[in-house]
Symmetry: C2
Subunit: 324 residues, 2 copies
């Protein structure tokens, strides 16, 4: 059987870099498209000829097309290209919206012309500030259409819509997964979400920034668990796919509990600096993963304490500081 | 003072055709862009040289650009181009999504390059199946991101998002109005919404199609009232605009009350045929128009009975049948 070819957009980003490695480990040829907006070439270091990198902006219909694929048609496309942390996606909201919306359109078109399967990375942010807890895939969400987070939230919702219509009306094999908070190696030190903020602050002897009271909860999925879920979804027999699948860790922690866990790992007390809660910040978000469990036989394996240890080690190396 | 130039996309459609006439009456030069997907050239009959028509698809960034504007830069752009009735917008959902999403992007780009004001037609459908009643502009909505109505609902939400970000980050004068159910002359006989369905059925001696129990409510705004609201919004001093404005008639009628009113006007009993409720059909929707009242001094003037009379006359002429 010929070697399978996967195209990973955003493959030089945090999650992308892990997915690329997992695909190579499973024998795939991998093409990465990334414009290095938040992705970093160094995340793909050491992979050699197993990965073909091309600097492509998926917003550009000419660039993100069959002609640009130097190594032939992909069998499967993973669309992970989009700034995903609030500071990153709010920096240039028009860019974010375009990446999500124009990007998915160009990739759906590409998938159709290649006869490829498209796996589209959506997000728990499509649930907004949820009024149902935890969130099952059937929940429609509570999203501000014109707020500061909307470029990402609504951009991702509109992307899901187009995916669903391509599936219904063009019979394309499109599968959506909704990523909840994920952490681990290859995170951008400026990612701006709580785990990178806390790890970097703790390692550089600065106070940990806590927004609001710190009583709001988050769920944290270690990246290897997430990637395993994505690959299981890609392997699912087509007729069994029946709509978006939440991928996340249902373990729920308050921000202050996260501080305690870091203190335990580091063996010292950490200073906290309180800041006001940003606009439209969700007060809680936790995945209902019943569908992933029953459909994929998937559930997270890595405990938060273990994942945090590995992430702290990565950030320590990244920052060139000693750890532990 | 030089004559003002307005570009109306979707100007050959139902609401567009009224807006074009109102603009001409106020001394504007008007360019209409319409690809006649649901619009009809006959809606612009009798306007002569006061309107320049061009067959432009706003999804096409090359076509919907400054180069195509044969009569110079517009001072104001009204974006009304999008199929708006469920049967029309669900017929080709990918087209609908693209018209809303790619269309608004191309027009925002055009407005920026012309220094024009953009008035963007949004919709009560961004509220989805609302859990707050009536709906103020601050309500975030309850929308299915992957349902059969999503191409329109989410397409329109994502369009609002981009408008809001152009306003915040590019300092463009973009104003959004959210249109609730509107009816009147120039409606497409195949529009598929309740008023055209009922008028056409009644005039052709067929039973009136009622979906569900007929106890669900709708609010109906006569088109001249709506157009007045749009023009008032365009005239609002820029610094007073502070976000989307609902335009609709808060009078609330059940579908069966609408039947009774038509029976009164026509002076005869009308037969009803019941059908199942379509997917994701909103059970009630009614505008909170406090903002339009205080900001624009606007409220609907035409009573439903009077508006229905005029609409029946129009449909009778359109269908070539006698009325009354």
């Amino acid at each position: 059987m010929a070697q399978k070819h996967a195209l990973v957009t955003g493959g030089a980003g945090f999650i992308g870099a892990h997915l690329v490695r997992a695909l190579i480990a499973r024998g795939f040829r991998v093409t990465v498209w990334d414009n290095l907006h938040t992705g970093r070439k160094k995340n793909l270091e050491g992979l050699g000829d197993a990965v073909f990198f091309d600097n492509i902006d998926i917003r550009d219909s000419k660039a993100a097309s069959l002609e640009t694929l130097k190594h032939g048609k992909p069998d499967v496309i993973f669309n992970l290209a989009c700034p995903a942390s609030p500071p990153h996606y709010q920096k240039d909201p028009i860019y974010t919206w375009e990446t999500s919306v124009l990007g998915v359109r160009n990739l759906l078109f590409l998938a159709e012309s290649c006869g490829a399967m498209l796996l589209h990375a959506s997000t728990s942010e499509i649930y907004g500030d949820p009024q149902v807890h935890p969130q099952p895939e059937s929940y429609w969400g509570n999203v501000n259409p014109i707020g500061v987070r909307s470029c990402y939230d609504e951009g991702k919702r509109a992307a899901e819509t187009l995916c669903a219509d391509y599936r219904r009306h063009k019979n394309l094999d499109v599968r959506i997964f909704r990523i909840f908070n994920t952490y681990g190696e290859f995170m951008h030190p400026d990612d701006g979400r709580v785990i990178s903020n806390f790890c970097v602050a703790a390692l550089t002897q600065k106070p940990l920034p806590v927004y609001g009271s710190g009583q709001q909860t988050r769920s944290f999925c270690y990246v290897s668990d997430l990637v395993e879920g994505i690959l299981l979804l890609a392997q699912l027999p087509r007729e069994l796919y029946d709509g978006p699948v939440n991928l996340g860790n249902p373990g729920e922690f308050t921000i202050l509990e996260l501080v305690k866990l870091l203190e335990k790992i580091l063996g010292r007390t950490l200073a906290i600096e309180y800041h006001p809660l940003p606009a439209d910040d969700p007060k809680m978000r936790r995945p209902d993963i019943s569908r992933a469990k029953s459909l994929l036989g998937w559930q997270p394996q890595v405990m938060l304490e273990e994942g945090l240890r590995r992430t702290l080690e990565y950030f320590a190396a990244e920052l060139g500081v000693s750890y532990g």
